[in-house]
C-alpha cells in the first residue's frame, strides 16, 4: 500500500470514529443506547439493515464462491423480497407496537419467562459464534496485505469496533452503517469498473459474457429437485425463505434495527427498501467473482491465492513438488489463454468454436487438478488448509488495482466488516442486559446503572467475538459457515415465533419443549442426511410447530381446560 492508499484508509477510519463519537452524544439512557429513543428515519434503518447483513464475508466469501462455481448462490437471496413483505404484515406490527427492547421479550408476554430466556440464550450463542466469523474475514485481507499474523489483525479490528460501539450505542452504529453501506455501493461499482479496465484491450464486455458462459458461470437458476443439491431454486426459495425470515424476524441484530424507527410506517419502509435493493446488489457482487474468473484467463493467477500458505510450503521439504506444479500451471494457463483468444476470434469470424471450447474445458480441468494437488501439499505441510476461494478477491485487489483504489477497496472491506460486527455487538449486549440482567438479576436497576452494564456487556461480547475469530480459520467457505451456524438454530427460533403468531392456543409448555424438539430434530437431520443445510430451517420450523401445538393441546387437556395465552 502506498501513501495515497494509507491516506484513503485513514480518512475512512477517522470519519467513522468521528461520526460515532458525534452520534454518541445523542444517547439518553438505556433506551437511547439500545433503541436510539425510537426516533430514526427509515432510510438510515434500511441501509443499516442491509449493512448488517452484508459483512466483509459478502465481499470476500461470495466473490470467491462465484469465482469457483458461478452465480448459483444468488438463489439463496431470491426469497428475501417476499420475506420482507411477510415481516411487514406479520412480525413488525406486533414487535413495534409492544415497545420491545428485544424480540425475545415478546415471547415472555405471549408464553412465559423460560421460553424467553431459552430463545435469547440460543441467540447469544449462535450470534456470538457468527460474530467471530464476521471478524475473522477481514483479518484475511489485512494479513495478506501487511504480511501480519491473522491474530494481530483480528485484535486490531476487534478493538476499534468494540471501542466505538461501546461508546456510541445503536445511534452511532446505525449512522456509521449508513456511511459504510454507501461506501460498499461505491466499492462494488469501482470493483466492476476496475476489473473491466484490467482486461486485455481486445477483450470486450461481450467476450467476458461469452467466456463465462462457456463454463456455465452465469447459471443463476438451477431447477434440479435433488434435495442434496446445496443451491437450487427450491432450496433457495424454500430453505432460503425460512432462513431469511428467521434472520430478519427473530435475530436481535436485525429486529433491533427496525425497533429504532420513529413510526411503524418507517419500520416497514426500511424493510421494503431492502426488498427492492438486496437482490440486485448481491447479483453485482457475485458478478465480480465471475469477472475474476474470466480475468484470470488472461492473467496468470497464483496456483494458491493465500500467499501465507505458499510461503510456508516454499520453506518446507516439499517446495520442489510445489514448484513443479507451479511450472505446469504456467504452461496450462498459457495454453488456455491462447485457446480463449482463438475462440473469441473464431466466434467473431463465424467459425465453429466447438473444438476450442473443448480444449478450454480440458485446460480448466487440469488447472483444477493442479490446484487440488497443491492444496494436498499445503495440508501435508501445515496440517490443515484454509479455503482458498476466500483469498481470490483480496489477491486481485492487491496485485492489480491502481493506487488510491486499493486503499478504497480495503476501506470498503473494513466498512463491511465493521457495519456487521458493531450491529451484532449491540444486539448481543441488548439481549444480555434486557433478557437476563434486568430480567433476573437487577429488575430495579437505575437507568444509569443499566447503561453502565450495557457498555460492559458490549465489551464482554467483543472479547468473546475476538476469541472465536482466533480459532475459526479452519472452517470452510466463510459465507457458508455463517449460514450453516445460523441454520442449526434459526429454524427452531422462527418456529417458536410462528407458533406465537399463528396458534392461538399455544402455551409456554408447548413453546419451550417445541423449541427443544425442533433443535434436536435439526441436529438429527443434519447428522443423518445429506440434504442442503438450507432445508434445516424448514425442518426446525415444522418440528416446533408440530411438537409445540401438540404439547400445548395435551397440557391444556391435562389441566382440564383450553389454553389461554399467559400474561
Amino acid at each position: 500500500m502506498g501513501a495515497i492508499d494509507w491516506g484513503v484508509f485513514t480518512v475512512y477510519f477517522a470519519g467513522v470514529l468521528g461520526l460515532a463519537l458525534y452520534q454518541a452524544r445523542k444517547n439518553v439512557g438505556v433506551e437511547g443506547y439500545f433503541l436510539a429513543n425510537r426516533r430514526l428515519p427509515w432510510g438510515a434503518i434500511g441501509l443499516s439493515v442491509m449493512a448488517t447483513q452484508a459483512s466483509a464475508i459478502t465481499f470476500i466469501g461470495t466473490t470467491g464462491q462465484a469465482f469457483d462455481s458461478g452465480m448459483e448462490f444468488i438463489q439463496v437471496y431470491l426469497p428475501q423480497p417476499l420475506v420482507m413483505v411477510m415481516l411487514c404484515v406479520v412480525f413488525v406490527p406486533f414487535f413495534y407496537k409492544a415497545k420491545l427492547f428485544t424480540a425475545y421479550e415478546y415471547l415472555e408476554r405471549r408464553f412465559d419467562a423460560k421460553t424467553r430466556s431459552l430463545t435469547s440464550f440460543i441467540f447469544l450463542i449462535s450470534r456470538g459464534l457468527a460474530a467471530g466469523i464476521v471478524l475473522y474475514a477481514p483479518s484475511i485481507v489485512l494479513s495478506v496485505i501487511m504480511g501480519w499474523d491473522e491474530r494481530v489483525t483480528i485484535l486490531i479490528m476487534g478493538l476499534i469496533t468494540i471501542g466505538y460501539t461501546m461508546v456510541g450505542g445503536i445511534t452511532a452504529v446505525i449512522w456509521t452503517d449508513v456511511i459504510q453501506m454507501l461506501m460498499m455501493f461505491v466499492g462494488i461499482a469501482v470493483a466492476i469498473f476496475v476489473l473491466f479496465g484490467t482486461l486485455p484491450p481486445e477483450v470486450g464486455v461481450g467476450d467476458v459474457v461469452y467466456l463465462g458462459g462457456i463454463q456455465e458461470m452465469w447459471r443463476s437458476i438451477d431447477l434440479s429437485w435433488d434435495p442434496t443439491n446445496t443451491y437450487s431454486i427450491w432450496s433457495g426459495m424454500i430453505g432460503g425463505f425460512f432462513l431469511a425470515l428467521a434472520y430478519f424476524g427473530t435475530d436481535q441484530s436485525q429486529v433491533q434495527r427496525y425497533l429504532t424507527a420513529k413510526s411503524l410506517k418507517a419500520s416497514r419502509l426500511s424493510l421494503i427498501f431492502n426488498a427492492f435493493v438486496k437482490v440486485p446488489m448481491q447479483f453485482f457482487i457475485l458478478s465480480i467473482g465471475v469477472l475474476l474468473f474470466v480475468f484470470y484467463h488472461f492473467e496468470r493467477p497464483p496456483l494458491i491465492f493465500n500467499s501465507a500458505e505458499v510461503a510456508q510450503v516454499e520453506a518446507s521439504a516439499r517446495a520442489p513438488e510445489y514448484q513443479a506444479l507451479e511450472l505446469e500451471q504456467g504452461v496450462v494457463h498459457e495454453a488456455r489463454r491462447q485457446a480463449a483468444l482463438a475462440m473469441l476470434d473464431a466466434r467473431d469470424r463465424g467459425a465453429d468454436p466447438t473444438a476450442l471450447r473443448t480444449e478450454i474445458g480440458r485446460h480448466d480441468e487440469r488447472l483444477r487438478e493442479l490446484r487440488n494437488d497443491a492444496r494436498e501439499i499445503i495440508t501435508d505441510v501445515r496440517g490443515a488448509t484454509s479455503n482458498d476461494v476466500n483469498y481470490v478477491f483480496p489477491s486481485y485487489i492487491i496485485e492489480y488495482v491502481p493506487v488510491g483504489v486499493l486503499g478504497l477497496m480495503i476501506a470498503v472491506i473494513f466498512a463491511a466488516a465493521m457495519s456487521s460486527l458493531d450491529s451484532e455487538l449491540t444486539a448481543l449486549s441488548s439481549a444480555t442486559v434486557i433478557d437476563f440482567y434486568r430480567r433476573w438479576v437487577r429488575p430495579d436497576g437505575t437507568d444509569a446503572h443499566l447503561l453502565m452494564v450495557s457498555r460492559l456487556a458490549t465489551l464482554f461480547w467483543g472479547a468473546v467475538t475476538v476469541v472465536v475469530a482466533l480459532f475459526v480459520g479452519q472452517l470452510g467457505s466463510l459465507i457458508e459457515a455463517v449460514n450453516q451456524v445460523g441454520s442449526l438454530f434459526y429454524g427452531s427460533l422462527l418456529g417458536v415465533f410462528l407458533l406465537a403468531f399463528m396458534v392461538k392456543r399455544a402455551n409456554g409448555t408447548g413453546a419451550f419443549w417445541g423449541l427443544i424438539g425442533g433443535m434436536v430434530s435439526v441436529a438429527v437431520v443434519s447428522r443423518t442426511t445429506d440434504i442442503s443445510y438450507l432445508y434445516y430451517n424448514v425442518v426446525g420450523v415444522v418440528a416446533v410447530l408440530v411438537i409445540g401445538t401438540g404439547l400445548s393441546y395435551l397440557s391444556a387437556e391435562s389441566q382440564g381446560g383450553p389454553t389461554e395465552a399467559s400474561g
Binding site: 417476499l82 406479520v90 461469452y210 443463476s220 389461554e564 400474561g567
Partner: protein
C-alpha cells in the same frame, strides 16, 4: 420476579388480532406510501418484482449458457 417494563399481554396473544387495523391506520398521513396508494398495492408490487427477478435470472441462465 417480574420485569418492570413488561406490560399486560393482549388477551388473545396473537399477531393477527389488530394487524389489519394497524396496517390501515399506518397507510401514511396522506393515505399513500410514495407512489403506492395502499400497503397492499406495495406488497403486491414486491411479489411481482420477485417473480420478475426469477424469470430474468432464468432467461440469463438459458441465454448465457455457451457450454455447448
Amino acid at each position: 420476579m417480574t420485569d418492570p417494563e413488561i406490560e399486560p399481554t393482549p388477551e388473545d396473544g396473537s399477531a393477527e388480532a389488530d394487524d389489519d387495523a394497524e396496517a390501515d391506520s399506518d397507510s401514511g398521513d396522506d393515505g399513500r406510501i410514495g407512489i403506492f396508494p395502499t400497503w397492499r398495492s406495495l406488497y403486491v408490487s414486491v411479489v411481482v418484482y420477485t417473480v420478475a427477478l426469477i424469470l430474468i435470472l432464468y432467461a440469463f441462465t438459458v441465454l448465457l449458457d455457451f457450454s455447448g
